[in-house]
Subunit: 246 residues, 6 copies
């Protein structure tokens, strides 16, 4: 099967979101994906296991759920094999494999799980691998990557799947996802992972977090992203909103 | 003398920058002011002493320097009396006085010196007073402010006058000030404070800092601002630049 | 009028909670107060202004609301005059005044607003004054306090009125307030401050925060407190619950 | 040989303490183990090497020392083979192996070395593996663990073997170990590691640390533990002691 | 009475240590003072109250104790009146008064209590005032200081009176005070404050802290100082000792 | 080929600097190396790859550049094979290999890249391996190291190759490298890596950083080092310079 690329000519450069398990992107930042795809940006999800170590759901079920959810987010989807669910390790070969995905898709923006360690060990390890991959993708001499042109992304944002995994030392950027259309699509994409949501109130967790950020920002719901590198802006024109309602 | 207001109908809401001494805004974030005024945004500088405790320069000289510098930045200027240079204290009355300035000018964006304490004591105290003033300006029942309508700003950014005063726990936003026109106006505004620049290489300090940030961001020069509240954005569209050249 | 004391013989030593405004204790940690009073512990609220600078509500209305709310919490209430709403300053005389309240009531546990500065300036200043007062209350030679016996509290906990004022450098202790009776009394006490809740969704803010903590802890709702000093325990017997549901 | 289990019916759920070397638990938190076992709680030590890379002591000697020390602490003991002393690596297989120990023993409370990196590399790596193992133990689908029922612990506490390895970003809980009986048993258990204590004053290091914490807490000696997850409590009843003597 | 100066021509520039109470310097860093005076450096103690709010000791007794202790440290002593014990406030006038002391004595090195707030409120306030005073002492235009020549110190070190007041965000420098002569003089100077040491084991607290640092550094005893500004050195020649025994 | 040793009897104990790529030591702390070698201290560079993954320069070219640069710094050089450029992993075997280098050369001071993760992944991984290696080098029982005598270094300093990799939680020590002779040699050593400097302005980045530190310290140029362990000093004699010009 030919691997997907994102070559459709678009005004907005594509976005590439990594998840360690089939539902990570949806729960962690699904609303942001919808926000971007509904504005015409191409988004691609790269999922690094079939969730085979979870208490509920078979790999086949979870694959189907991920495909349905990606569609609801307006995104394309691929699976990349690393060490398997609950077995992910930090290996240079993994970072290089992810770098090859980056080179193929040539996104501007990457999304990856945050680096805080008190969460599922696959999450923060994937976050580290993606961060390293973003660097390796731009080095010209990595032997395994020689077939593809070097590519420098513009920004890597981390998303947090739980309150415990919110980075303590990076200021978040809150993305307003209040529009009913976005909220509906995001909620549907989370609920598409029915094998998981049956067991625990993951959806309520994420909606409560988003509502709390929304209350702070004076909007309906918001999702926090954590930039890996300092934001660079041309002026203050885009920055005149702050979360200071209370 | 009638106190200035910023009522000119503009598309961009006005910006209000506070400095403890006549040269603080210029040295700390002058390039950002130029960037905004050259885009048509009204900017007003509120200076809270005449710099009368400095080793060099009389209050009269420093007032004249500040007026010249403000003009070079494209900004208007006023002086507010608090406790005097090197004598600033944290008093509720000062915060309320600054809140009345905010209510009169009704800016979207505030700029103030950072809160880190290892710098001139007037700097971080003014930063705190401005932060508190931004809150008090929106409370309806403060007796001293009753004549004016409550006003909620959108965002408060801190600027750092020295490397030591850069906040350690807030992620900076880098504003690209590389355009030659901006750099010229900023440099001229700093050099307008001739009584100060004769004694120490303040200008070199700021240009070295801005060049270092520029190198990191892959541009000529940049200035770091530190948001007081989480940034709220409608989408990722404005965020696809990160400082990751090296 | 005779000032209140807490001399009823009780097995549990009394609790003393300080608020800068008539509704601070209720919004910040009202559920904890209910939890303690419903277990038979005496609780006393010490409110340091009449909320006269707020946009809504007269001092008389707010006093009445506070009295009703305290009753709903099962607590007694007194007002202490410091500098007035929105005018609080850090003064040794204030800390000594609060120390005299501590000496009169002789509590084991103190509750006070957190010290994070990005909130209403009265909040963090009161938190600092209470922390200092707890120290001064035990020093035998403070002239203004000579009429009363020195008293050492056992622990000071801070509560956070907003997400922004949650301490970043102290690990929270989560108090389970899930029982319907507690939640009802807490909610009623918050809603007793009708002049404030009409204007903004403060109640939703607090219930959303408590639900989010409850989700993390695997209970209904929880409130976070931040100890000023390291917890000292006799054994691990009381510590075998952690917030690790997700 | 049949692997040990902790099935004795007890009111207090069992405690499981991990050490990278035969003396780690004794030096890092031995007094806490004594405190718990003398209250009737079952405690089990899981040691992950024979200390074969140390300057002093053969594996056989160190095994014997560990067995004697465990007995003095009132705990049972087993050795688990990972990579060997000074060779420990972060591998998913190790975390899964430790998860199988957790599933077999089904403890409420785990103890593990802290995560700070400036200490023996085996220490912080084992701390990470235990933290990850505690998560994996509750996931139903991990293939290697299928024979055993999933188990969720209640709390994981880290202990610090040296001042350098005390976590900087977690508030400690101080356990009072002042009782002479506890101090005697703890000291004896440390001295049972005679091959190590001959070479360096490890015992003095730990007793000095415990005395310093005791002075702060107003007791004889105390040991600091660092919870991995926020403490959840039913009320303030257990929290009315704080370390605030000076 | 003529105020003391430190004009004796010495190879080592004088050291000036500030304390809020008569015993602060002795308990916080007395060993360092002895170390320096025994090497021929002039040291001067500036004490900012008579300890009149303490539970034990009259101002007259405490003055006599301080004089005896200073002599044991080999230091001169003066008292400066600010607001009185337990009443210290942050006022510009205080910082300027302390700046005038700095200008008179012209030290290279300043010592002051640390800035951490969870300690006696006079301690951290004095630390802030000294830090600000060190800045004001070098500004030429401060009206109150016009009679004296501006003076720039070289380094300000903070000392911590308790473990709670050790700065969390500054790396300490450990001064080896192991020589028996130093330890004897330091201990004697602490015990000279007999009114205080009768009531609590302050001496044991400090000796335990110093021994713990000594154990870490592989020496007998050490005292931690916390530099306010980055250390500047000509080479690595002086830096080849680190606290890495365990 | 016989491996190099540093047995020349010298007054100053030798220094050993590790780099992940052929130019890391030169860019990160070359000026410090020159400072030390020009004072007669032996310095040895241990480079852990040939830079074969970089966009520019062949391994042969880069080896030659490194040899020339080491000569300009007055240092000797060796290459150690680990996993290869862009492929470095944290393995116990690597730390042991580096420990064997430490045992052979028996340095007092180590230099290694900082541990901050947002940089080239080889950098922080090498920093961790060197830190662990410094510990393992002093343990007597590590089987692979049995042929060589245990060795305890005195201090490990980290250097930062970029602003992003400067440690946030360690106070830096600034080494004054202002002498023209040092600056010339350092600059020449950086420019010796011509394959790299052609592509990006690495030299300007480092000189700008050093000038900014120099401005703060009141000297020409300075380089920041970050000690791994608390500095231990005999007195304050070497510490009377602080970076407080502004």
């Amino acid at each position: 099967m030919m691997k997907p690329t994102l070559t459709t000519p678009l005004e907005l450069a594509p976005l590439l979101a990594f998840g360690a398990h089939p539902d990570d992107v949806e729960f962690g930042c699904g609303g942001v994906i919808v926000r971007e795809t509904s504005a015409g940006r191409a988004a691609h999800l790269c999922v690094c296991s079939r969730g085979e170590a979870a208490t509920h759901g078979t790999p086949a079920e979870r694959t189907a759920e991920a495909e349905k959810a990606a569609q609801l987010l307006g995104a394309t989807l691929e699976f990349v094999e690393l060490d398997g669910d609950a077995h992910l390790e930090i290996r240079a070969a993994h970072a290089i494999k992810l770098a090859s995905v980056i080179r193929r898709l040539r996104p501007d923006i990457l999304l990856a799980p945050s680096l805080e360690e008190n969460q599922h060990p696959d999450h923060f390890r994937l976050g580290r691998l993606v961060r390293d991959a973003a660097r390796l993708a731009r080095y010209g001499g990595v032997a395994e990557l020689r077939g593809s042109a070097a590519h420098a992304i513009s920004q890597l944002f981390f998303y947090a799947l739980t309150p415990e995994s919110e980075p303590a030392d990076v200021s978040p950027v809150l993305i307003d996802v209040s529009s009913p259309k976005i909220m509906e699509a995001w909620t549907a994409a989370m609920e598409a992972h029915a094998s998981q949501t049956r067991a625990r109130n993951y959806v309520e967790l994420q909606l409560t977090r988003a509502r709390l950020l929304g209350l702070r920002a004076g909007v309906g719901h918001a999702i926090a992203l954590y930039p890996n590198d300092a934001l660079v802006l041309d002026s203050l024109a885009q920055l005149s909103r702050g979360a200071r309602l209370f």
